[in-house]
């Protein structure tokens, strides 16, 4: 079975995100005064083969833990979609 994984890797909420802060300031200057707490992370998509959904989920989880995110500074979440 083939799946696609849609993964979001975000900076930990407790950490300052300078990129998000700079973008928020810029947006304020543009007039979007009501926008706050801008945080910027990464969106990763990938396709994978697996026997079933659980196996696919386990593989993506492992990849997120080992390389796609660094738990010292980031957290991740993902969705799996089975391809027809």
């Amino acid at each position: 079975m083939k799946f696609t994984a849609e993964i979001n890797v975000m900076p930990l909420k407790a950490l300052l995100d300078p990129q998000g802060k700079a973008v928020r300031m810029s947006m304020h200057n543009m007039g979007y005064k009501t926008i706050d707490n801008v945080r910027i992370g990464k969106h990763i998509t990938m396709e994978l083969e697996a026997g079933d959904r659980q196996e696919a989920s386990d593989k993506v989880e492992e990849a997120c833990k080992k390389i796609l995110s660094n738990p010292v500074m980031e957290f991740y979440e993902f969705d799996l979609v089975q391809l027809k």
Binding site: L15, P18, A22, L68, N70, V72, M73
Partner: protein, 237 residues
């Protein structure tokens, strides 16, 4: 003594490091290519600065899984001396050999300038020779050098004397103003619990040649060589 300098695609301080070790420190040095798994019987390994794998994903994240790094991790776990500068420090944090991580600088700018650092722990192989109380002038050049570790990890690191350097002013005063990148507790360099793996963001190899008018960094290389000759560290099991 035989040093190995690891070269990743995107390393760009590798030749500065090779030059300092070979020409200034007069040591044997070999280049260790990232795809190799042969450490060539080196006594110590240096991970140089640069932008390994284009800093893709996170600084050091991809380099950490290169074939040579598996051997470097084994070498470190057997007590071998491993020293990472700038991107090398980032790779050591990503590999888990050193605690914490290096985040984007607080001001979101790439900072390239001379800064001052003060020695916190004088008893490691890297810092033993830094007996002067004065602040050392060493250049930094990084966009992601804001050291971070959580409160519990920091507490352990402080208790175990794992903080090697803090950013300071020219008089040695550690303050918010003397912190170039927003590093937690002004941390510029650290070591592991076993004291055989060192990482720092400033570049001592850029302050080791008389021609450059600053040799504060050379004392660190002298310290490593002297300590290893005296068998005070870097003894591989």
């Amino acid at each position: 003594m035989k040093f190995g300098v690891v070269i990743f695609p995107g390393s760009n301080c590798d030749h500065d490091m090779l030059y300092v070790l070979r020409n200034i420190m007069e040591q044997k040095v070999v280049e260790l290519w990232h795809k190799s798994t042969d450490l060539q019987n080196v006594d110590a390994i240096i991970l140089p600065g640069g932008f390994s794998y284009g800093d893709y994903l996170r600084s050091g994240a991809i380099a950490r899984y290169s074939p040579i790094m598996e051997k470097v991790i084994e070498f470190a776990n057997r007590g071998g001396l491993v020293f990472g500068v700038c991107n090398g420090f980032q790779i050591l944090c990503e590999s888990g050999l050193l605690p914490g991580a290096l985040l984007h600088n607080e001001n979101q700018k790439f900072i390239c300038k001379n800064v001052y650092i003060t020695v916190v722990n004088h008893s490691t192989c890297l810092t033993r020779g830094l007996t002067d109380e004065r602040a050392l002038s060493i250049p930094i050049a990084h966009g992601e050098g804001r050291y971070y570790a959580d409160t519990a990890t920091l507490k352990e690191m402080n208790e175990n004397h794992q903080i090697l350097f803090r950013y300071c002013d020219e008089n040695g005063k550690v303050s918010k103003e003397s912190n170039p990148n927003g590093s937690i507790e002004n941390i510029a360099g650290i070591c592991n619990l076993r004291k055989n793996v060192y990482g720092m963001m400033p570049h001592p190899e850029r302050a080791a040649d008389d021609e450059l008018g600053n040799t504060d960094g050379r004392i660190m290389f002298e310290s490593i060589i002297k300590s290893m000759k005296q068998k005070l560290c870097g003894i591989v099991e």
